[in-house]
């Protein structure tokens, strides 16, 4: 009888510990609006046409390392990052890097004009509130995600990124096959 009680308490204790660690795992921390960080989880798909009319699908980019950048024309830090992204696409494209960017401007014309002016030669799609929510809330820009070759989000960077550190992460992800 005593042994059965001890066993029961052990099982309950294990269950409680498992519950605690499940809550602390990657990608499950929630903010006040119930959104998760998504790091460690599969990236939600993005399937829409880019500003040139070409179809963009994250699912179709499996096998590549994806740098997914949310930005807006009125965001000064976003514009600082763009020339480096253009350079990285040229430098690392052959190794499997694909940059995809999402403008969260309220309308398309300013985004289109900036894409032309900054010579962004990677796919740029228009985002919206629903897409932002699916990515755990994009409540300020820039926000950058690094997605590995299996489609799993490995990093989320809010705000202007340390470009040197980001480049190091990209190189490490490209090297890992």
């Amino acid at each position: 009888m005593l042994n059965r009680r001890i066993r029961l308490w052990r099982i309950l204790g294990c269950a409680m510990l498992a519950g605690l660690f499940a809550g602390a795992g990657p990608g499950v921390a929630q903010d006040a609006m119930g959104r998760t960080s998504l790091v460690g989880l599969r990236a939600p798909d993005i399937a829409r046409a880019d500003l040139r009319g070409a179809p963009v699908s994250l699912a179709a980019l499996r096998g590549k390392v994806v740098l997914l950048n949310f930005w807006a024309t009125w965001c000064a830090p976003c514009r600082v990052e763009m020339p480096r992204f253009v350079a990285w696409q040229k430098q690392y494209g052959v190794d499997g890097l694909q940059i995809v960017s999402v403008s969260i401007d309220d309308s398309e014309p300013p985004a289109r004009a900036l894409v032309e002016r900054m010579h962004l030669d990677y796919p740029v799609v228009m985002g919206d509130a629903k897409l932002g929510e699916r990515y755990g809330g994009v409540l300020g820009v820039p926000v950058t995600f690094l997605i590995d070759r299996r489609g799993v989000i490995r990093a989320r960077i809010d705000g202007e990124t340390d470009l040197g550190a980001l480049q190091g992460k990209i190189e490490a992800m490209l090297a890992a096959h």
Partner: protein, 171 residues
């Protein structure tokens, strides 16, 4: 002698007129460039006096004790507003765009000038926000005397939502 003095005074008058015209032209050019600058260059958040800034924890506290005390207006991105905004806040349009300034002007046009208003944006770090400075300036020009501005150091996500302060989405 008399004739030459008449010619001399005539010349002076012409010079005086030319000076006035040149001065007028310069003033007009300055005015046009100032309007141009207002429309194209974002007004820095640093134009807002420190004593008009409200920290997020202070506004959160104020909202808990008096939820309907102030009219809260977001003057940034609609996409960001739709995802999350301060509970009870209204969208007023981006302060960096003429359409946003027009929307803000129209929203507050009929309000008493002593109305308590809180402006916020949170699209970008405070010192790079393109919207908040011009929205503040507009309300000053319109004569509002009880305006405060939420000081969002990083962005709305990290400085409001992540702190667990009350927010809601549009849908």
């Amino acid at each position: 002698m008399r004739r030459s003095s008449t010619i001399g005074s005539g010349m002076k008058r012409v010079r005086g007129c030319t000076g006035t015209i040149l001065f007028g032209l310069c003033a007009a050019a300055l005015a046009v460039s100032s309007v141009h600058a207002q429309l194209n260059q974002p007004v820095s958040a640093s134009v807002i006096p420190r004593d008009r800034l409200l920290e997020p924890d202070a506004l959160n506290h104020e909202l808990q004790s008096n939820p309907h005390g102030s009219l809260i207006l977001q003057v940034g991105s609609k996409v960001l507003f739709d995802q999350a905004h301060i509970h009870g806040a209204e969208y007023a349009g981006p302060g960096s765009r003429p359409r946003g300034i027009a929307a803000l002007r129209s929203r507050v046009a009929n309000l008493p000038r002593g109305q308590a208003i809180v402006l916020y944006c949170g699209c970008c770090p405070w010192d790079r926000c393109p919207n908040i400075g011009s929205a503040w300036q507009l309300l000053q020009q319109m004569g509002f005397t009880n305006v405060k501005v939420l000081h969002i150091a990083n962005n709305f996500g990290s400085d409001w939502v992540s702190r667990g302060y009350r927010a809601e989405s549009t849908h």
